[in-house]
Assembly symmetry: C2
Homo-oligomer: 414 residues x 2
Amino acid sequence: MNIANSLKNIFASTNFNKLKFDPRRTLIKQAKVALNEGNLIVEFHDETEAYPSVWLRDNCTCPECFHNDSHSRAINWDKFDVGVSPISVDVNKDKLEIKWSDNHRSIFTEDWLRNRSFEGSKQAKYLEENYRPKKILWDGTEFTKILKTYSYREVMTKDEILYCFLKDLAIYGVVLLKDAPMDPSANSKLSQKIAFVRETHYGKEYVITSKPGTNNYAYLSSLLQQHTDLPYYEYNPGVVFLHYVVQTESEGGQNLLTDGFFVAEKMRREMKEHFELLSTVHVNWSDYGTEDFVKFCNIFRTPVISLDSFSEIASVRYSIPQRDSFFSVPLEKVTSWYHALKEFTKLLDKHCAKFKVESGNILVFDNTRLTHGRVQYNDTKGNQRYLVGNYMDWDEIYSKMRILKNEMQEKQQT
Amino acid sequence: MNIANSLKNIFASTNFNKLKFDPRRTLIKQAKVALNEGNLIVEFHDETEAYPSVWLRDNCTCPECFHNDSHSRAINWDKFDVGVSPISVDVNKDKLEIKWSDNHRSIFTEDWLRNRSFEGSKQAKYLEENYRPKKILWDGTEFTKILKTYSYREVMTKDEILYCFLKDLAIYGVVLLKDAPMDPSANSKLSQKIAFVRETHYGKEYVITSKPGTNNYAYLSSLLQQHTDLPYYEYNPGVVFLHYVVQTESEGGQNLLTDGFFVAEKMRREMKEHFELLSTVHVNWSDYGTEDFVKFCNIFRTPVISLDSFSEIASVRYSIPQRDSFFSVPLEKVTSWYHALKEFTKLLDKHCAKFKVESGNILVFDNTRLTHGRVQYNDTKGNQRYLVGNYMDWDEIYSKMRILKNEMQEKQQT
């Protein structure tokens, strides 16, 4: 939306305060109050922006309205008047001073205002740069191109490298770390470098070796079908760190990895009815058992494909073992849902990347997006596959990315 | 839906295997395969149930298809035929034996089948008893009636009491624990009794006292407007435990608590347009700062009212301080959204419970549902308000409830 154009009609029909403009002493040309829409129109030297009056008043940056130490709004909303309007607007160089109908005065700088544009494309740019980078979805055939490899040591010691590693993880959903120390705590040290480990009923860390009679199907050496971890958690772990302390030397043990978002979007385009079923029919994901003598009994009901309120894909859950036999779904939907799941399974297989992580490397991937699996392998006396895994959540990872980015920008400016 | 009635037409038009019924040796009367709908119809002595064939095959309980140690499905879905159908069905006492078109044989017991009914009301009953209890929403005027009080010592020592405490927490969203030890670790001991603490960038535990120059607005003694904690976390903490080690003796300091789901449902009924805005317009919730020398920069975008895919309310987020001045929303929605938020604020105030937790008590409440606040108070030299808080997530709490319930049922049966 071009605000300048779309507001021509408002200007034509509205009385507003025109402020005198002296190009020698101001960067903001003028501010006009288009009261019929409740917006304040600000003409900068190169463009025009519109800001809702109530939003400006709500975001007054004076010490009474904004608590600087905690970066928090301090306005008492029990008394806040959402019908508030500007009585006068003064432009002073790069500052806008507003006198409000509630007798308050606010001052906004040009930078502050420009950063908070309500123009759609600028908001999108702000979000992509400051909120979350845009994901790039991939087919298994593109895997060698999209897989970025970093040195564990560099990630642990150089903030710029750590930032790039996390950003690639957010964009592609997978990154490989080479040359991690054989120390089984390499994962947890990395997590602490970023923020902290996400605990689950399997603890803060888990060892994956072949354990017959296990409480978890992943602890067997037979084929591990593709799945997402812990789908029975409402708060399903965001990122998996798998440290291959010892990889199998047997012929098997290849990793399988598919971009579940790629597959889900393909299904949305090409198999609309299947997509509809997989994104609306709630599955009872579950896990019952005992870990370290503590029982757990997790159930979470949600579709294979979770959509957010923009109908964007928020999360993919897929697990044959952890799909409960209790399927609390209307009878008439069951068979068609199974056909949809079968097609999804075929797509996961078709668009899968197959590779083999080497001993000493750490495979890091987005557990809310990618499915992972493993081909059957065989342990021998001299070679027992030994992995250490742990989780982190995206809240912490995105937070760290923003901090690192801000610090790098500050460095550049000094 | 009455399955027996609705299937009359299917029976009328379908060829199925009628099995001989001998009332002396069987509990299942007969099994009929209504192949046109892909369902197997089972007549028990008192009622008729329908089970989708593909679901039965998928949930075969034989050791080849189901891994008992991990309670997990072991079927290789790459090879699974969703078009599978029964070739023959035999009834043997309380067991059903099916021979499948893929040459497999499955045996299902009557109990197993009955528990997994596809009849809507039975599924609803199963979910309420085994998944999550139904929430009972409340107005502030009902608070003294709905607030259940438990003894900390009893909750810590008697599993039946712990279960009732957690169930009331799930149903009403708030419970009070009396007579906790003055030990500041009372909260974390309770969390460990249930499962484990939820960590955030504020650590595993936080102390709330009046701290001028704080990094968090909650650490001031002035009015703390109602809010939910950490709305800027995608995984917003499920439950808050607030241990009042020392309550203020000043006149102020009263607790404010409102059932956000009650308010949201009221708004859905009475102010449809406001509800629409608050449940679709994404707010940038945020928190920037430093805790224990570690920086954080959390942002999460989601509406005040989050709906699940059934349009049920999943979570309420509300916080004046943690609502970012960056508001990435189309200009034309802003002013009407502010009016909706104001009405929501008024409702939170109108339906609020006001009370004062005594020293030594622990207030426990659902942070995804209730808003909480506090009236201004004054510390004196001899009386400094001192609270210890921590979080747990609902995944762990529901899991513990199921375990406790199962154990109690097992005890009753022995």
